[in-house]
Amino acid sequence: MSTLTALARAQAFAEGRAQPLATVRHLHLHARPLVLIPYTMAGEPNAPLAAMVGTERDDPQVLVVAQPRNRDDRFAFAAELAEVLLPYLESFTGETEAVAIDRGRDVRYRYTDAPQLWVPNPGGVDFLRLFGRSTRFRSTEGEYAVPATVPLLGRWLTFFGNSAEVAGSSLLLTAVQALSSHWATGQSSAEDAQLAALMGWLDPEPGRTVFEAAAAAEDPAVTPPAGPATDPGFDNDVLAPLISVAEPDVAKLREVLREQLLPTWHLMWRARDLLAQLPEAGRVASRWDGDRDAFSAFWLHVAEGGAPQPRRDGAVAAAARLSRLENAASRYAVQRAFDDPLIMAEYRLVGAAFEGEVTLAKADRVDDTGRRPVLRPRIMVRTTETVRVEPGAVLTSPARPAQKATVISLQPSGAAVDVVLELSGGMGRKLVAEPGSVPEVGERVLLTTLSEAYRPGGAFPEPEQTPWTHGGPPSSSLEADEQ
């Protein structure tokens, strides 16, 4: 927990009002998302009990499983969910756009839009991932045949589950994480994990204090849980009498579950409303491009008859995936800071970024010690903030992301520090800097060790070349896919 976030929580408590942790929205907010609230059967490993799902706020659909322990009922639920999800996915495959690749020598196509799923909390993501695992290998023929849409659903749920691990991806979002990365409440993160308690702080009903709203949110009789776990009292008093009979009354079951799920459904849409009030951050669109790429690629993979995702990645695939996730996480951290002064403040607080005033600038300085003369202006920045960089460090300014600033010297001056920097890049191709490309005396600049520079992905061997330290080459690809 950073000091800034902790301070925001303390302020939220003292003021009885949530405090912002971001000034802009760091996620893509889709105009037509698919909201999904899963409920599972207590005690059973990931057995669906019900789900509320839909793309229209006023028209949620309730899917129920009359006998959650019965596998046929379970796969019937999967087929029903597929009837909702698969057409929704397909609705984004109408239009494509060309993207230049290989330095413009070639193009590839991607869909102009992509789906976006919303679940209440990380438990909902876990449910989708495990439900994907339990359905994607099902056979569509033989003794235990399931409809063809069931394994297809499993593959897509696995795709969404995997993308939820990618920092900055907006394909599958949780309301709890989306909200708590933008606002701080005056309660603990354990309490924030309950969507209703979190929304009690962010958007209390009129006439209620946040404390009253959060307290009301904790009574399962007033506010049913957001799932996937049900309220034990509901299980024992309402659900058990209904489903422990041979022929459950499905209409009645649907009605009681609808009642349990509906409050969360409304909270989900209100959560979106809150996020919609924030302007979108500058770099969200480029990350959404990446999401559209991922969706388009997986659509193609499925259409071409590609294999379902293995139960566990092989050594090489796992290493490559981890490297991609790490790259995405560091890119997301930098982009958030560059987009949002409140996030950048975290770095300023620890000296990885500082703001100051330009006190000297030599915009026309040319370094002619090399083979060719090059433009290398120098500036001096005076700051009173903590500076934890060494001479030689390369800094960037969010205002001029294409320009590098190398630290030449640091000189304390009273309570301030004078930092001399040498600039390169982002000034045009001539020996005279383009107007405005070099900060002028008197300008306030922010400099940071964070960099948006492209990081090449790691180089990994082919699976057949897996070194013995990592288990050697896989003995057969069949092994990974067997049931």
Partner: protein, 365 residues
Amino acid sequence: MTPAPHQRNPDPALDRLRGDTPAKRHNARTIAALTGNPGCTRRAVLDAAGVDKPRLAQTIGFPAAFGQSRFALARGNAFEAMLKDDGGKLLLEVLREVLDLDVPEVGYDDLGEDADDTLSARHARTRELFGRPEVFSALVDHPLLTLDVAGQRVFLEPDLVAFQVEGRLHVVEIKSFAIVDGQADSAKVSAAAVQAAVYVLALRKLLASLGHDPALVSHDVVLVCPRDFSLTPTAVVIDVRKQLATLQRQLTRLASVGDLAAELPPGVSFDVTLPPADLLASLDRVEARYAPECLSACELAVYCRHEAAGSTAALGRPVRDALGGVETVAEALALAAGTREPTPEQAEAATLLQAAARLRAEILS
């Protein structure tokens, strides 16, 4: 019917706190929970005295939601029954794989039903059985062990104790959460590991009291869970040495709870038949150390949270640490605003808080 031994509380000072209501039984889960927040005197005293905390919380108007779904109970019981059916046939199969059980020598001893009035008899049978290691069976069902917690004797019932061919005893813990593709919910696994460590400790004490080497009880416990999405069992071995060390340290600290109770003024009582105002006044005399983690582990947590409102601890340990470890939110904000002189230990935190407050104000203005 002779009174069950657990109702004879050896410490009158603790007994008095509870009034006339019968004591709540400790179990491995409550002992495991004690290690979760060892600094909390209130929990230590209430648990040691066997106070009915759910009822206490209800009476004072801060009921906690600790219900268990009957579906979960039913499944847990069904899974255990299936494993133990037919002399533990299925259980033996999975244990054989992980423990190298010697097939021909396998036996199965059931020491009796789980009921309050058989406690003494079962404990005597357990002592007798483990007193003669040369006739150990491979599996001992329903053994009854004891452990001294905070100066009082607590009865414990591991799911099962298994015996390996090299003469080592292993505690077996049966849980109904699933292991999918070799992975399980980490919170559930660590809770099971702490509980199993409680049994390992109790079994070691038993062997030591019988004159055997306590090291005969392995620190490797076996967790038996359903595999993937079926009821097919699978077993994994977990090393609980770390949990054992923590547990022993906490139990040593708790040993003095009787002294704490003796020091309380005579008027302090947690007899749940008393009026709420008296109970609240008594609670006020016993200090709690609230943390948000208590909400999932202690029935009194909702009251303690109410009491701790305004403290930095109520916002969670990471927040408290980031605020320089100061006690209250008001104090932290005063340090941030510069309206309060920091102590020498707070100086560094105060500087950081002031810088943070300045940055937030500058950006959000």
